[in-house]
Amino acid sequence: MNPVPPTPSQDAAQPERRGFLGVAAAGLAGILLAPGVRLIEIAQAAPAAGAATAGADPQVRWGMLIDSTKCSSGCTDCVTACRTENGLPENPGTTGAQWIRKIEIKEIRTGKTQSLPVMCQHCAEPPCVDVCPTGASFKRADGIVLVDKHICIGCRYCVMACPYKARSFVHEPQTNQKPDVPRGMGTVEGCTMCVHKVDRGEQPACVQACSAAGHGAIVFGNLNDPTSEISKRVRAIQTSQLRADLKLDPGVRYHGI
């Protein structure tokens, strides 16, 4: 069964044969193409709507800057936008999911009041991730803290661990969810920074709603990029993180509190 070394005459015939095989292969490819068997490759090569996104970039740290001096008391545009975008209940009641909420704070000595939104602060050192027994609570490469509901068992340790009260538990069976935002009973959820929009290169719904209403109180961007709008702003003005004493390094910063 040893291979027979090619004779000089066979060698001479090789180029012709190769040429013929090339033509035959090209013809075969054409035949295959016609009945639609090879169409997958064409479709994948063509850029079209719904094209795949590049994914979470570890060089990026997504963050928000909330200017509480521009945030007016009684305005709930960001909260409404969040509910609409993510299919959350209109009236959360005492047990319904709430990803973003408006709070009023008052300095007792001076009587100065402030209104500001609070949501998941997307910590660099998230305590919810530390306590999660299944690994469902996790931080993406680009700094967004999420719950993988496929793994979540609904133990609610993360709800207890979060100092910002940012997470909610879904108590009721859900219907009419948004295709981009799956939500279901028995899992914990919280602000995703509209990760489905961010992956497509858009801004979170609350940021869009705030600027569309003319307030412009929330700036969203990459904190790791020195040329981004948010980086310039945090360099120029005094900002603070909520409960900075916990050293969780939240990605959401506030101005004017």
Binding site: P35, G36, V37, L39, I40, I42, A43, Q44, A46, P47, A48, A49, G50, A51, A52, T53, A54, G55, A56, F138, R140, A141, D142, L146, D148, K149, H150, P173, Q174, N176, Q177, K178, P179, D180, P182, R183, G184, M185, T187, V195, H196, D199, R200
Partner: protein
Amino acid sequence: MGRLLRNLPRAAVLWLLLAGAAVLAADAPGATPRVPKPVIEAARGGQCVEDPAIMRRDHMKYLKHQRDETVHGGLRGAKYSLKTCIECHASQTTQSVAATQTNFCVSCHSFAAVKIDCFECHATQPAATSAFHPLVHPSGTTALLSRLVRTLGVETPSARSQP
């Protein structure tokens, strides 16, 4: 050769059992089959991301792999995205893959007696303004071509295994 001979009685028994089962399961010609078959509604697009035979066997593996890539890695709109599956396979009447017993996911899964909990969280209907999978866009050339091929009845491996 020796192994074949040793296994011969076992193979014969298996063959007899199979033949017997086939005789028992066979229905009289013209009669409605005793075993109800799943109703598989036609998809909206022209072509699935893989050959239907492969999809029937392996769709759960593709979906599970894709879900981790999407949730943890942020890769959206990829080849095996559940969202794009639903956009194509949603029923023309209910606009859903799981609203009634004849809808795509439910009909096969109830036939196979495999309970899925995908739709406790995931939407069963495509968004009103959703973009179709690039492969199956109803107005796309690809879908048009493969629909034409199906209409003309050209025998291709994928057309043969089409439900």
